[in-house]
């Protein structure tokens, strides 16, 4: 079924090995890199947003307790 007789023949690609494997290699690297970068970007985005939401919440809580103390001193 396989067209090749040996693995070295497969690697040589009839003296076109550099061109064939240069195409395959760059394609494989870029197609692997894109989802990796996307996953990393998504992780850092979610961490940033969570930090932001937590900060906003504690700001709100701080505001509320400030108001309460002001009200009690009046």
């Amino acid at each position: 079924m396989l067209y090749w007789n040996s693995f070295s023949e497969f690697l040589a690609m009839g003296n076109h090995g550099v061109y064939v494997w240069g195409s395959v290699g760059v394609t494989a690297v870029l197609l692997a890199l894109e989802p990796i970068l996307l996953i990393q970007g998504r992780k850092s985005l979610m961490a940033r947003l969570k930090r932001q939401f937590r900060a906003e919440k504690s700001d709100r809580n701080a505001d509320r307790s400030n108001q309460n103390t002001r009200r009690s001193t009046d």
Partner: protein, 253 residues
């Protein structure tokens, strides 16, 4: 009729599309892996050699699908952009932005694999012929779209400006596709055509179609992933993103 229209618009909101996209992504990855493995096995393992081009012809199993994807993604991107201009839906602009980098990637791969094919076959990495030049313009259109969008701070205005660029650039896609017919070019005519029976052996055709399907599934998976991040980023001031990321403890009183 009216009901159906409303249903479609329901899924056009980022809030309802976000979880659906998340469920679909693993399936598209699985399909991409299956089609990719089968296509590479046939293309690089089983397919016979080409009488004229020798083994170097095997580059076309990546080159042709990458070129198809670069054109097709542009059409889909322009379609989303047009939808965004017409209906002013938020999701359209997000999906157009999500597709652009992947389209640029495939345009680059098309040029790269083409150069590596051209060197042994034509004796030149690059020639300024109609097919190659119009594909290079496609890459520049993608880069221009991305640059224009990232230069405008307001995402809604960035969507509109990008949409107009994308729509004007659509004219380039038929130019790429028909360039081998319209002009006398060094690039060979299409190996697979919608109107004629293919001018290649069945195993080669299968290898190419399977690789194309794999790239197709890959593109959908990656575009959905990027789209989901864009949705979170742009909708960060809305309640659904806050609830999603902070759980039930939504920060509301």
């Amino acid at each position: 009729m009216n009901n159906r229209l409303i249903n479609w618009f329901k899924y056009a909101s980022p809030q309802s599309f976000y979880p659906i996209a998340g469920k679909m992504i693993p399936w598209f990855w699985a399909l991409a892996a299956v089609f990719g493995a089968a296509g590479l096995y046939i293309g690089f393992g089983v397919a016979p050699t080409d009488a004229q081009q020798g083994e170097g012809y095997r580059i076309i199993f990546l080159h042709v699908p990458a070129s198809w994807m670069s054109m097709f993604i542009y059409l889909v991107m322009a379609f989303w952009a047009a939808l965004g201009l017409a209906y002013n839906t938020r999701l359209s602009g997000m999906m157009a932005s999500a597709l652009a980098p992947t389209g640029a990637l495939f345009a680059f791969l098309s040029l790269w694999t083409g150069a590596l094919w051209g060197k042994p076959m034509w004796g030149a990495w690059w020639v300024w012929d109609a097919r190659l030049t119009s594909e290079l313009i496609l890459l520049f259109l993608y880069i221009g779209f991305i640059a224009l969008q990232s230069a405008i701070d307001d995402p809604r205005r960035a969507d509109k400006a990008g949409a107009i660029l994308a729509l004007v650039g659509v004219v380039n896609v038929p130019i790429i596709y028909f360039s081998v017919k319209w002009w006398n070019t060094l690039h060979q005519g299409s190996s697979v055509s919608l109107t004629k029976s293919p001018s290649m052996a069945m195993t080669m055709l299968w290898g190419m179609l399977l690789c194309a399907l794999a790239f197709w599934m890959y593109s959908i998976a990656v575009a959905l992933m990027r789209g989901r991040s864009i949705m979170l980023e742009r909708e960060r001031h809305t309640e659904w993103v806050r609830t999603l990321l902070t759980g039930n403890d939504s920060g509301k009183e």
